[in-house]
């Protein structure tokens, strides 16, 4: 297998970047509906909003990472796409409508609205920024991998391209969570992964549908053979599922989209559509993993399994077609990096700007700056930190990295959101204790896993998949501390709960 043809790949990636930039600068025009009257009736439909959530949510981990994991570690990895989707089912059942009805735009907003405490707001802010950075890290790493695989560019370039495009776009005022653009992104990604998949499947059938080549001792095709070879597969699998199922609701760029729904009912309908759209998309990445086993039983040394999707077409079909397919996949992957990174950067920058930077900048410069300048500075901060980290930290695999971000989100915001929506006994101290305990434990586990490398035995399994113990612990701490401090239950809890759970068209005093 020779190097992928540079020209096609570069053209595809450059095209995606340019289109993203162009849409960013012309997007403002696209985003407005122009008409004489009755504009107000045209709220964003649940269907379009769901596509937008899908467009923002399907990241490098989904596009490249899952295929790589299935290829390397076997059928157990099918839990990843299941978990990514199940997260929205949990979101739908537990928090979609109350979140929308709270009127919150960001997670710190919800924390403040429910707990009436600025300290909790600040704590949530720090966590949102942390989770956002943790999630941006694999996007930038993935971009570097993809560009390296397609063009042979040095490793630092791909991440830098994504970082620069995102900063330019967000700072220039474009890409501001434009629903239509993000909705199109979903269909671009689906096409980019589905069309090559069908072509490759055709090639596979015409070859007589050969079976995958599996080395005898790897137990690739058996369930519960150990996630990433860590051992304790049953524990690791359940822990991973828990992290993915409960972490989705705590991702900073997901809640922002829910604000666009006109009411709680639309929020539920949107979530349901998201589940269907994600389910459709996730049919394809495992196919690549399987076909990889058939046609590329051995990857050359020093090649990350995450680039499998990009290498497969060249190995399977004739040169010209293979190059075109690889270019389409590379373009789709870059679309995935860009849209997820933009959404995350917007959310993280918004939070940094609003809660951390604005007052301080005002004091430092004597109010001598505009809101737009502050937001630009926040955007640069939001991207530079994960980019630097992506150059320093050893890659541990895109999907693994993302699952760690999920674990932190699940250990912190899941207790806050679930207890906040459904338990009137939650006190300010309880929520704070839950956030601190869950956040510290999950972050420590993630840090050790990412930086110290694999740890053998049970400690390794527990640290590699912290969700199964850190989430219950965070819940328990929240509940116990809340029960111990009934005096710290927010004053307007009853009123807030009524607002979170009554349909909007019901006439009642909401004060």
């Amino acid at each position: 297998m020779g190097r992928l043809n540079t020209a096609y790949g570069v053209v595809a990636i450059a095209l995606v970047c340019l289109v993203t930039l162009a849409v960013g600068s012309f997007g403002l025009r696209l985003s407005r509906t122009t008409s004489d009257f009755y504009v107000a009736g045209r709220t964003v439909t649940p269907y379009r909003n769901a596509s937008a959530i899908g467009g923002e949510y399907l990241s490098a981990a989904s596009f490249l990472g899952i295929a790589g994991l299935v290829y390397t570690n076997g059928l157990d990895m099918l839990w990843f796409p299941v978990g990514y989707t199940v997260g929205y089912v949990v979101l739908l059942v537990l928090v979609a409508a109350p979140l929308r009805r709270s009127g919150a735009y960001t997670l710190p907003d919800f924390a403040e609205a429910r707990l009436e405490s600025l300290a909790i707001r600040r704590l949530s802010t720090i966590l949102v920024v942390g989770i956002g950075w943790l999630y941006l890290l694999p996007q930038l790493q993935g971009a570097s991998l993809a560009l390296e695989a397609v063009t042979g560019a040095p490793g630092w370039l791909g991440g830098l391209v994504v970082a620069v495009v995102v900063v330019a776009n967000v700072a220039a005022g474009g890409m501001r969570s434009i629903t239509l653009v993000q909705a199109l992104q979903y269909w671009v990604k689906l096409t980019a992964i589905a069309v090559p998949a069908f072509v490759l499947l055709g090639a596979w059938f015409s070859d007589g549908a050969p079976g995958p080549a599996i080395a005898r001792d790897t137990r690739w095709e058996e369930p519960l053979n150990g996630l990433a070879g860590q051992g304790h597969p049953v524990y690791a699998t359940y822990s991973l599922l828990l992290a993915l199922a409960l972490g989705t609701m705590g991702l900073p760029h997901v809640l922002v989209r829910f604000y666009t729904n006109p009411d709680g009912r639309a929020a539920r309908r949107t979530t349901l559509t998201v589940v269907a759209l994600l389910g459709t998309f996730y049919l394809f990445p495992p196919l690549y993993g399987l076909l990889g086993r058939v046609y590329l039983p051995q990857l050359p040394d020093g090649v990350a399994a995450d680039t499998l999707v990009l290498r497969l077409p060249m190995a399977m079909v004739s040169d010209g077609l293979g190059q075109v397919l690889a270019a389409v996949l590379a373009g789709g992957a870059f679309a995935a990096f860009l849209s997820t990174a933009s959404g995350l950067t917007m959310s993280v920058a918004g939070v940094i700007d609003q809660d951390l930077l604005r007052r301080r900048l005002g004091r430092l410069t004597g109010e001598d700056f505009s809101a737009a300048q502050g937001f630009r500075l926040a955007t640069v901060l939001a991207v530079v930190v994960p980019y630097v980290a992506s150059r320093v930290v050893e890659p541990v695999g895109l999907a693994t990295m993302v699952s760690l971000a999920f674990a932190v989100a699940a250990s912190t915001f899941c207790p806050l959101l679930v207890l906040g929506s459904w338990w009137r006994g939650l006190s300010t101290s309880g929520a704070a204790a839950g956030l601190v305990v869950g956040g510290t434990l999950a972050t420590a586990a993630v840090g050790i896993t990412v930086l110290a490398g694999p740890v053998p035995g049970w400690p390794g399994a527990l640290l590699g998949q912290p969700a199964a113990w850190s989430i219950p612990l965070a819940f328990a701490v929240s509940v116990i501390v809340s029960l111990a401090t009934p005096g710290r239950i927010p004053r307007h809890t009853a009123r807030t709960m009524v607002r979170l759970h009554t349909p909007e068209d019901l006439v009642l005093e909401r004060g």
């Binding site: 403002l28 985003s31 407005r32 509906t33 122009t34 008409s35 004489d36 009257f37 009755y38 504009v39 107000a40 009736g41 045209r42 709220t43 964003v44 009127g103 919150a104 735009y105 960001t106 907003d109 403040e112 609205a113 009436e116 300290a119 600040r122 704590l123 720090i126 501001r176 969570s177 434009i178 629903t179 604000y259 666009t260 729904n261 006109p262 009411d263 917007m346 918004g350 700007d353 609003q354 937001f375 980290a389 320093v392 930290v393 050893e394 601190v436 510290t440 972050t443 840090g447 990412v450 930086l451 110290a452 005096g487 607002r499 909007e504 068209d505 006439v507 909401r510 004060g511």
Partner: protein, 400 residues
């Protein structure tokens, strides 16, 4: 490899230290005040002030039963007596401490204070019960006088009373009175806000109602169907504009009402009034003070276009700015003197553009001074009014 392992470890350690530092800052934030006192007097002063501020939190709605019960606990700490009771004219508000069996008599004890407004000291003869271990044997009861009325009474019960306790009780009662007055001021302020809002509602009506009805009347014979539709629009408009209930609505609702308003104005102006709306669908669910866009549009119609031969165009634009929405109302009419607009916004004159000044005042009241109206205008150059509303602000909720 070794080089690349050390760097991340260093960064991780540094990150961990930073996190610890941030956490310790957060934790110590609340306690910072308790360190660094020179003398015990300082410390006592601080303790007293701190207890008072804790009690003040619970009195910010006035003397409610729950608030009083919580505040009484802190007042007991201030007075250093076993039991503190709060009573008002209707009955007992709070009893904090042991000996609950005296609770029912507290209102009776305070009756004289409530009547005369003077502090009294009650001895064992009036207060004590048969139980020799009961700490309630005497009482100091002081009136809470706010706005020249005895609102309530603070009673400190204990085994014995002293001149010190009597004076302390009087001071505490006076302090409670201040808190009650503050709470009252708060109520008055929100009542004033509501009154101002009501004034704005009523204010749209006169010109507009007269003009609309005249315009509708002109269609009654020539085009009865149109007249009927216009009347229905008019009915919907007035229902929205004169509604009772919450002060906030969604941008979608507000724009719907602006559209009704424009339909009625177009009946009057016909082709002379051209309107374009450009609204990002993402910002339609944003919550904002109700009647905050319509007065701007009315201002554009009345001052921008009505005086201009050939009419003109009004543009209403709402864009998504991340955590805020930006709303612009622009006309290409006759414009006005910036100085005059400045005076209206500063509420120095009640000129013709009172709608602008009122919307500006309400926006600032709700969202803070960063969120007022921005007006760009010059004679002959049209007028552009812009404002921003944050997508989330504490305490701001739309009501249907």
């Amino acid at each position: 490899m070794p080089g690349s392992v050390h760097l991340p470890t260093a960064i991780f350690v540094a990150g961990g230290m930073l996190l610890l530092y941030a956490l310790s800052r957060l934790v110590s934030h609340g306690r910072a005040a308790s360190r660094g006192f020179v003398s015990e007097v300082d410390q006592a002063t601080h303790a007293t002030l701190h207890t008072a501020s804790l009690a003040a939190r619970h009195l910010q709605d006035g003397l409610t039963p729950e608030g009083s019960a919580r505040a009484a606990k802190h007042l007991r700490g201030l007075l250093g007596c076993p039991v503190v009771a709060l009573t008002d004219a209707a009955g007992i508000l709070a009893w904090d401490g042991p000996a609950e069996h005296h609770r029912n008599r507290a209102h009776g004890h305070a009756a004289e204070v409530m009547r005369t407004g003077r502090t009294i000291v009650l001895g064992a003869a009036e207060v004590a019960c048969s139980d020799p271990d009961c700490p309630v044997r005497s009482a100091v009861i002081a009136p809470v006088v706010a706005e020249d009325r005895v609102m309530a009474a603070v009673a400190a019960y204990g085994p014995h009373t002293s001149a010190g306790l009597a004076r302390a009780t009087e001071e505490v009662a006076r302090w409670v009175a201040t808190q009650v007055e503050l709470a009252d001021l708060g109520h008055q302020r929100s009542r004033a806000m509501e009154a101002e809002l009501r004034a704005l509602r009523a204010q749209i009506s006169p010109h507009f109602i007269y003009n609309s009805l005249a315009a509708i009347a002109s269609f009654v014979r020539t085009d009865p169907d149109r007249a009927r539709e216009l009347l229905l629009e008019f009915a919907d408009f007035t229902r929205y504009a004169l509604r009772r209930g919450g002060a906030f609505t969604t941008l979608a609702e507000e724009l719907r009402n602006v559209e009704r308003y424009l339909v009625l104005e177009q009946a009057r102006f016909g082709d002379r009034l051209r309107v374009s709306l450009m609204v990002a669908p993402e910002v339609l669910p944003v919550t904002l003070p109700y009647l905050s866009v319509q007065p701007l549009v009315e201002n554009a119609v009345r001052h921008g276009l009505a005086g201009k031969p050939g009419g003109g165009r009004i543009r209403i634009v709402a864009t998504d700015e991340g955590s805020a929405a930006e709303i612009t109302v622009e006309d290409d009419g006759v414009g006005s003197d910036p100085e005059a607009i400045r005076e209206v916004l500063d509420q120095r004159t009640d000129g013709d553009s009172i709608g602008l000044g009122n919307v500006d005042a309400r926006l600032r009241q709700v969202y803070g001074d960063d969120y007022g109206l921005v007006v760009e205008t010059a004679p002959g150059a049209g007028t552009k009014v812009t404002f921003r509303v944050p997508k989330y602000a504490p305490g701001v909720h739309a009501t249907p």
